[in-house]
Symmetry: C2
Subunit: 208 residues, 2 copies
């Protein structure tokens, strides 16, 4: 079903399909054509057919797509077949905001938060205690953590990432403005560069 | 210098160039070849030459790029030629985290924060007072606000966006998981869908 040649651009569109299909399911919509999907998602119908063909094409001529099947298939492709254990490193404003985000409903369980600042260690956010960084290695191993979310200061980010790689973390979700360099190519890094998104906005503002 | 045919993919890469060039400048690097730029940024040298050619090509054969010139040119392309006045709608954890982010150093000045919750109105974050939503229209007009950052709940997002469009906001930076529908095509919307980024991460985790 999966295909290693699928382009990054397609992969980046899949979560959007997933999000819209979830909404449709919640609204009781069972069946949809690529044309209707196009109207709500904003990609062309031909783009949608092409995208979904990458994964075996679940549509049927004259019927369209079964929303629930498509939602489940895309969920599987996206790896939403198990619960991922996550931790947050850096429990400042952003770390606490992310802890309050409801990622658990998507299958990402928050198993720990870590900080070096004694003013926040010991606090609990949504029943998760903020612990001292000294406990990081032990907790990663004991709790079988898959994903670490880095919300530290810019200066701390690279050394935290080095530690995480050493402790066997499989994936890093990076919210700092640093492009992390990880020698271990087994570790997946996904960057959220907020400033890049903001600069794209200012580009379009200027173009007007 | 600018070219309307520049693809979205190129535009999305520009902030990354900008970020790296800034670091080089801070480290006293004055001149760089596309090969060296490639080594640090991770795009191919040919990709870099192509990207920068879109904007008139600032490199010189046998010399490479002047870092400061390139940094300034890209900054201009990205619209970083003035200060943008911004406000944050929704002063919960995420709104407060963003208020503490140092976007001002990039030319984005936080001029106000708004919430409906009396528990947070009146508080100050970095000298900016959180005000009641009733004051939104007046403040947008008085303070000449360019960009509104939406950090409200999912349910409030669309109606907040409708109000913002009505009050003359030019651009919306949307942190809610809602794909906003704005009838006024003059309003630019840039979405930060955190969950999409997380699902991309789980895709790669599963692929391993």
């Amino acid at each position: 079903m999966t295909n290693n040649k699928v382009s990054m651009a397609v992969i980046r569109r899949l979560p959007k399909y997933h999000r819209y299909l979830k909404e449709m399911l919640e609204n009781g919509i069972n069946r949809i054509s690529s044309k209707e999907l196009s109207d709500v998602i904003g990609f062309t119908a031909s783009q949608i057919r092409q995208d979904l063909n990458n994964f075996g094409g679940f549509g049927q001529q004259g019927y369209g797509y079964n929303v629930e099947d498509l939602y489940n298939e895309i969920g599987q492709i996206l790896g939403l077949v198990k619960t991922y254990n996550t931790i947050i490193i850096g429990a400042g404003n952003l770390g606490q905001a992310l802890a309050n985000y409801n990622f658990a409903s998507h299958g990402f369980k928050l198993e720990g938060m870590f900080d070096i600042n004694p003013k926040v260690t010991g606090l609990r956010i949504r029943d998760v205690e903020i612990k001292d960084m000294d406990l990081l290695e032990e907790e990663i191993k004991n709790k079988n953590i898959d994903i670490a979310i880095i919300c530290t200061s810019r200066d701390a980010a690279q050394s935290v990432a080095d530690d995480l790689a050493k402790y066997g973390i499989k994936a890093i979700w990076n919210f700092t403005p640093v492009d992390l360099k990880i020698n271990n190519h087994e570790v997946i890094v996904e960057n959220v560069h907020l400033i890049d998104s903001l600069l794209t906005l200012s580009y379009f503002l200027k173009e007007k």
